[in-house]
């Protein structure tokens, strides 16, 4: 169980772009949090601070109570698995199996155990028949799933998934939803970055909204997607999930998910 903490984190790129501006954030061990925001709001920059790929210009990042500044990227990578937005930045194995095995093998996992993880994850992500394929022969979507599998294979206590559902079809999104829920049930800490508000509402318990490098909203999905927050949400370039809009139209209160609408209508019908 590992907590992630950011204290007054500022980050400015060498070209002068201030990407993070006084970010304070605590992600309790074993919780799931979605980080949302407009394009260029600083989501990916924040994610890269969690495993040391970027270091704050000022402020502090701590993983499991230990200041990230005191640890190398390689050390942090044992705690924080980061799945990149663009598969091509991450993939280098010659086969799907090599790619998924790479992380655990370098963590000292036996080849038998590593292959066990490969088979289990490949089947979970629908890559079971592609183990011998070259990653370049997979479509973009399957390469995306491959990057997720290879990060999950390291079984780190913290997972950061940057846009895990981009380009996935409805079945692929369902798979990711289930995987995140299982990770949380297993006590992992999961931070997901997404612009898919339906996925966010269905999968995460807490939502943090970034706007130009600052946190502007932070709460449960019921809170952040409630009607009184829509102006702030829209000010940050986002729209509430459609379920929230439909539930509000029907006078059901805050219903971030479709299940919440069905639940509210069921109890309304029972009262009549």
């Amino acid at each position: 169980m590992t907590e992630v903490r950011l204290e007054a984190v500022d980050f400015t790129y060498p070209d002068g772009t201030r990407a993070l501006d006084g970010v304070d954030l605590v992600v309790p061990a074993g919780s799931a949090l979605a980080l949302v925001g407009a394009n260029g709001s600083g989501k990916t920059t924040l994610a890269r601070h969690l495993n040391g790929l970027l270091r704050p210009s000022s402020g502090r990042v701590a993983v499991d109570g230990i200041d990230a500044a005191e640890r190398t990227v390689a050390q942090l990578a044992r705690s924080v698995g980061l799945c990149f937005q663009r598969p091509d930045r991450q993939i280098f194995g010659r086969t799907v199996r090599d790619e998924i095995e790479f992380g655990p093998r370098h963590q000292g996992v036996s080849s038998e155990d590593a292959f066990g993880r490969v088979k289990a994850l490949a089947s979970r992500l629908g890559l079971g028949e592609d183990l011998g394929a070259h990653p370049d022969d997979l479509g973009d979507t399957r390469r995306k799933l491959l990057t997720i599998a290879s990060v999950l294979a390291m079984e780190t206590p913290v997972f950061v998934l940057d846009e895990p559902t981009t380009g996935l079809d409805a079945r692929g999104v369902d798979r990711i939803e289930h995987i995140v829920r299982e990770l949380v049930e297993a006590g992992r800490t999961v931070i997901g970055i997404s612009h898919d508000m339906r996925f966010v509402a269905e999968t995460f318990e807490r939502v943090v909204v970034l706007d130009r490098g600052r946190i502007v909203l932070d709460g449960t999905t019921e809170e952040v997607f409630a009607e009184d927050r829509w102006p702030a949400l829209r000010g940050a370039g986002l729209e509430p999930p459609e379920a929230a809009v439909i539930g509000t139209r029907l006078g059901l209160g805050s219903t971030p998910t479709e299940a919440a609408i069905v639940g509210a209508l069921t109890s309304r019908a029972a009262r009549r």
Binding site: R142, A170, G237, A259
Partner: protein, 266 residues
């Protein structure tokens, strides 16, 4: 009109075809959506319609491909590119890596078409405005976020004012506000006479389409008006996301409630 008739395609070295006997017609002034599950062949069809397969990707195409009745199959890429441009799925991989600024990147396409200087500048300016990235004009495109790079690539394609525009998941990386701008810009391009083919997963994309074609295992399974296609309950079995209203009505029925509790759609 760009027409594919009975088109099959096999990737180099592949043991089987990825597309089978595809018929597709792209008319100037219209947006055609391309829906389908992962591995249905959407990206492949974009490559073939855009002419990158087989010219750049390799592989074998069979069937007829023509533009306004002219067989284009033996046209070299540079000739086809005057008429047809393609936006690939991974926007960062499509940057020129030559331009030092976003403005230079967006102007790169029209400049390479040999357009007069004033026209290059005005079409680049307009494209920046259409997708809402005027404020990024002086930035280094390689240092932008994933979504911002997608906007830069789309602006660059729009600036070329192509007759045929093929887009593979143009709003995949975008926030809601940017996605809306891009879909509006795609509509505007169609109004100006462009024929657009747009593969997507996100249901809001279909609002910008005149027609949607559904691909499954490399075959076109259905083509029709977006409402007609998306209200067909079969689409979930094809891995296509239903619009929220349609899905909710179904879920209410499944829960034993009257779908009419939803009231009329907004």
């Amino acid at each position: 009109m760009l027409r594919l008739a009975g088109v099959s395609y096999r990737y180099p070295g592949a043991g089987h075809e990825t597309l089978h006997a595809v018929d597709l017609e792209l008319y100037p002034g219209t947006v055609t959506g391309l829906a389908g599950a992962e591995q249905a062949g959407k990206s492949t069809l974009c490559l073939v319609a855009g002419g990158l397969a087989p010219r750049v990707v390799g592989g074998t195409v069979n069937g007829e491909i023509d533009i306004d009745g002219q067989d284009t199959r033996d046209w070299p890429m540079h000739r086809l590119a005057d008429l047809v441009v393609t936006g690939l799925q991974d926007p960062g991989g499509q940057l020129s890596l030559i331009a030092e600024t976003v403005f230079g990147e967006v102007a790169f396409g029209p400049a390479n078409l040999g357009l007069p200087y004033d026209e290059v500048v005005s079409s680049a300016e307009e494209a920046l405005r259409l997708v809402g990235i005027e404020h990024l004009r002086a930035h280094d495109p390689t240092r932008l976020s994933g979504g911002q790079q997608q906007l830069v690539v789309i602006a660059g394609l729009l600036a070329m004012r192509p007759r045929y525009l093929v887009l593979d998941e143009p709003v995949a990386h975008l926030d809601a506000a940017s996605a809306k701008l891009v879909l509006t810009a795609i509509r505007a391009a169609a109004t100006a006479g462009t024929a657009v083919l747009m593969a997507e997963q996100r249901p809001e994309a279909w609002t910008a389409c005149d027609a949607v074609a559904v691909l499954g295992h490399g075959n076109i399974l259905a083509t029709g008006a977006p409402d007609e296609i998306l209200s067909n309950p079969r689409i979930t079995t094809l891995g296509i996301e239903e619009p929220a209203e349609v899905r909710l009505r179904r879920r209410l029925s499944e829960a034993g409630l009257d779908p009419e509790l939803m009231g009329s759609a907004s």
